[in-house]
């Protein structure tokens, strides 16, 4: 019996940017063999230059990745993937626009050979506040974002993301929010338990942000910036300092301390702040 495959669910409403993110993750896979699961190929436009060969329900992609349509039958699709000569390292399931990622996650928990790594839900900064106020869709969008353990804000280049961040803080308090640019394969495909996250659920209306820490950073400088920001009330997370050592940053109000990071800690700093 081989180890179960970690499954990350990528949710979010129609047009939130799921397909764009999937293509970027495939491009940046860095040797990980990612299997992308879509309800049907009609749902996902994989960039043509990534495609190496197309079959009926399996598309071979560059770098050993595959894209698989599962129709109504996720179990069989996953068994097929596990039986490949070079099985994938991780599964990335793109949920359709009105699907409930939490329900898919619960169903995945029943499947042999799969373990749920996490649920990332995308929020389109140009639409999310309106969707959360839509008479037909509000409860669907709420259920989607509440099921997430990571919220990724997209299209911030088109509009100010602050209203979306505030709306997410109200709808899904305590779930870390990060810009989609921070969504590296390491972050999105990481097991939920290994992701930086707040230790406690905070009161509604507080913003929970995830600051990526991919590049070496001066921890003191970052901590000073956070301490100087009157909105930030707490911060905790790991980063690599300028000499290449992992460091743990912990901040409450304006007090902070920087210590050696525990071994194996995921990189990234979660901040809790009051809204603007």
């Amino acid at each position: 019996m081989t180890a179960p495959l970690p499954l990350t669910i990528l949710g979010g409403y129609l047009g939130a940017g799921k397909t764009r993110l999937v293509n970027r993750l495939l491009r940046d896979a860095g040797g990980r063999r990612i299997a992308v699961l879509v309800n049907d190929f009609g749902d996902l436009a994989v960039d043509a230059d990534l495609i190496e060969a197309e079959g009926d329900d399996l598309i071979a992609l560059a770098g050993g990745c595959v894209c698989c349509s599962y129709g109504d039958d996720l179990t069989t699709a996953i068994a097929t993937l596990r039986a490949l000569p070079a099985p994938p390292d991780v599964l990335l399931l793109e949920a359709s626009g009105v699907a409930m990622p939490g329900a898919i996650g619960a169903a995945a928990g029943l499947m042999p050979g799969v373990t749920l790594a996490g649920i990332a839900v995308l929020a389109d900064a140009t639409r999310l506040p309106a969707l959360l106020a839509d008479r037909y869709l509000a409860d669907t969008i709420e259920r989607q974002v509440q099921a997430a353990d990571l919220l990724l804000v997209t299209k911030s280049d088109l509009t100010d993301p602050a209203p979306t961040e505030a709306a997410l803080a109200r709808a899904a308090p305590g779930v870390p929010v990060a810009p989609v640019d921070a969504a590296t394969p390491a972050l999105v495909l990481a097991r939920h338990a290994a992701r930086p996250r707040p230790e406690t659920r905070h009161a509604a209306r507080h913003l929970t942000r995830l600051l990526p820490a991919d590049a070496p950073t001066d921890p003191d400088a970052l901590a000073r910036d956070l301490a100087a920001d009157p909105r930030v009330t707490r911060a905790k997370g790991c980063l690599i300092d300028l000499s290449g050592h992992p460091r743990l940053l912990q901040l409450v109000g304006t007090d902070y301390e920087i210590t050696a990071a525990p071994p194996g800690a995921a990189l990234g700093v979660v901040t809790i702040s009051v809204p603007i």
Binding site: Y13, G71, T76, G97, A107, G109
Partner: protein, 542 residues
């Protein structure tokens, strides 16, 4: 070409200009006319076929919402509460308690010892609403996997070996559709397609629950003959190329007795692909296999608490149901379909789904009217008067789930929507008064394929416990008989070809032993069989 003249005790034509006749003349599968022998003699020499001399003829009945899988299901063991007749004409008595269910399943197991045993039709609501557990089904077998689908299609029960085979007999399961017992293990009840479908594969259920193979289609044809049905729908089909070929091949068999109208459902393809595929299928249609129609599934079911309801929501406080399509995709599909004159039927159970449909149609049709689109709102169970009035104004038709009054009416009253809305569910009277074309349906296999029963259900609105639920929404016998012939034909846009016995239409008849206009109870009307395209099919000779 030979002309056949059928004298009958009575012919109920559904042609308002000539509602009754004694004779019908047929040539080459087409009706020359209905009237007296003298009137019809002008057509020339005729062969008189007196086999229906003591029968009553009606237009062949049309089931406007069912699924061919009913035919395939009879390969599995029926465990329902009500008597039900299989394609071979054998009536399986209802299982009145759990012991009867166990006995029935044991008999099924004895026919194929050792093979995983699928059953269907279970309805523990009628056993005092007790929960069925794996311990119950372990009495059928402690070693062979056994699984039984409930009548509603929303719950499945497994025994212990089946749970083991599905990898579910373990602690630590955390899923709302898998209730756990005091021992921390699943009780054996599975709720919802995402848990039922993978588990069902271990007890002999096809993963594509709506699929129907050629033997299943032939069995379905026999059920049609027994029910007096000459045109039936396959209202939610994937219609991949293999399925299309099977449909075309089987319906072209010389003794296939039913015209099948298939709707391609919207799942699994983009709206653009859907439109392109359905346009192609329209061109490949035959008289016996009508394709080129779209089914859009908007929400779930009321008894599964997955229909989208407006305030005040579910009577028992259950959270609102699920959307199965985004409003954007709905808009795209309707816009493109209206522009191409492709007919759309929508699965629209809850009144919030109905409202979204109304508003979307209003937007699209205000911009670009579509002549005679006849979008048909299927189920439409909770629509109120105001919604039905708007649907009438939009040129829509409704096909109401009249059988629900009988099978789940008491549950709707008590649990799902409460007394007030239960009494106005499937508002056929209101819809007719507002000028809507009304069909009524069985959704077979959810309830049995039997339009005369469905007409009875709309006429009486009796629940299984014997209450009249919503007397003000009852329709007359004549209106109910219209609904299962011309009404259904109109919703399928085939009313110029079928649905009445009059000159130029297909020679499709339901051949009845009794007069449906005067029978005390429509359910008791005996059915000899059908004539389809001029070909007689006797149920007893199938």
């Amino acid at each position: 070409m030979t002309i056949t003249l059928y004298p009958a005790r009575k012919i109920v034509t559904m042609n308002p200009a000539r509602p009754h006749a004694t004779h019908v003349a047929v040539r080459d599968g087409v009706i020359l006319g209905a009237g007296t022998k003298a009137e019809l003699s002008g057509w020339g020499e005729m062969r008189v076929d007196a086999r229906f001399a003591d029968k009553v003829l009606m237009p062949g009945l049309i089931e406007g919402h069912c699924h061919l899988m009913e035919g395939a299901l009879w390969a599995k063991t029926y465990t329902g509460f009500f008597d039900r007749t299989d394609p071979e004409g054998v009536t399986h008595p209802g299982c009145r308690d759990i012991d009867a269910v166990i006995d029935r399943l044991r008999a099924g197991l004895a026919r194929a010892p050792g093979a995983p045993l699928p059953g269907w039709g279970l309805d523990p609501i009628y056993f005092g609403n007790t929960r069925v557990t794996r311990a119950d089904l372990d009495r059928v077998s402690g070693t062979v996997p056994v699984g039984v689908m409930h009548a509603s299609g929303h719950i499945m029960n497994l025994n212990t070996p089946a749970l083991e085979a599905a990898g579910l007999l373990r602690e630590g399961i955390n899923h709302p559709g898998v209730p756990l017992g005091d021992d921390g293990l699943p009780t054996g009840e599975l709720k919802g397609p995402d848990v039922m479908t993978p588990a069902g594969a271990h007890v002999g259920f096809d993963r594509d629950m709506l699929a129907c193979d050629a033997p299943g289609m032939r069995a379905f044809g026999k059920l049609c003959v027994r029910a007096g049905v000459t045109t039936a729908t396959d209202l939610a089909a994937r219609l991949n190329e293999e399925a299309v070929q099977t449909m075309l091949r089987v319906t072209a068999e010389p003794d296939y007795p039913a015209r099948v109208v298939c709707h391609r459902f919207h799942h699994g393809v983009t709206p653009e692909e859907l439109i392109a595929q359905v346009e192609d299928l329209r061109d490949r249609s035959t008289d016996m296999c009508r394709m080129g129609r779209i089914k859009v599934i908007m929400d779930g079911s009321i008894q599964g608490f997955s229909a989208r309801l407006r305030a005040p929501g579910y009577f028992n406080g259950a959270p609102n149901g699920l959307w199965y399509i985004t409003p954007e995709h709905l808009r795209t599909i309707l816009t493109e379909a209206f522009a191409r004159d492709l007919q759309v039927h929508t699965h629209t159970n809850g009144d919030e789904a109905t409202q979204l449909l109304i508003e979307t149609m209003t937007d699209i049709l205000s911009e670009r009217p579509a002549a005679d689109h006849r979008l048909t709102v299927q189920h439409c169970q909770l629509a109120d008067r105001a919604q039905l009035a708007r649907l009438a104004g939009l040129g829509a038709c409704v096909n109401l789930f009249a059988n629900h009054h009988f099978y789940w009416g008491d549950e709707h009253y008590r649990l799902t929507v409460g007394p007030e809305r239960a009494e106005r569910m499937n508002a056929a009277r209101t819809a007719l008064d507002l000028g809507l074309t009304v069909g009524i349906h069985s959704d077979a296999p959810i309830t049995p394929l039997a339009p005369l029963f469905t007409a009875w259900a709309a006429e009486t609105r009796l629940t299984a416990s014997g209450r009249v639920q919503g007397a003000h929404e009852r329709i007359t016998r004549a209106e109910a008989l219209w609904a299962i012939t011309m009404g259904a034909a109109h919703t399928l846009r085939i009313e110029q070809e079928v649905g009445s016995i009059e000159a130029g239409k297909r020679a499709d008849f339901a051949v009845l032993d009794d007069d449906p206009e005067t029978a005390d109870d429509l359910r008791d009307v005996g059915i000899w069989g059908t004539v389809q395209g001029g070909r007689p099919f006797e149920a007893a000779a199938l």
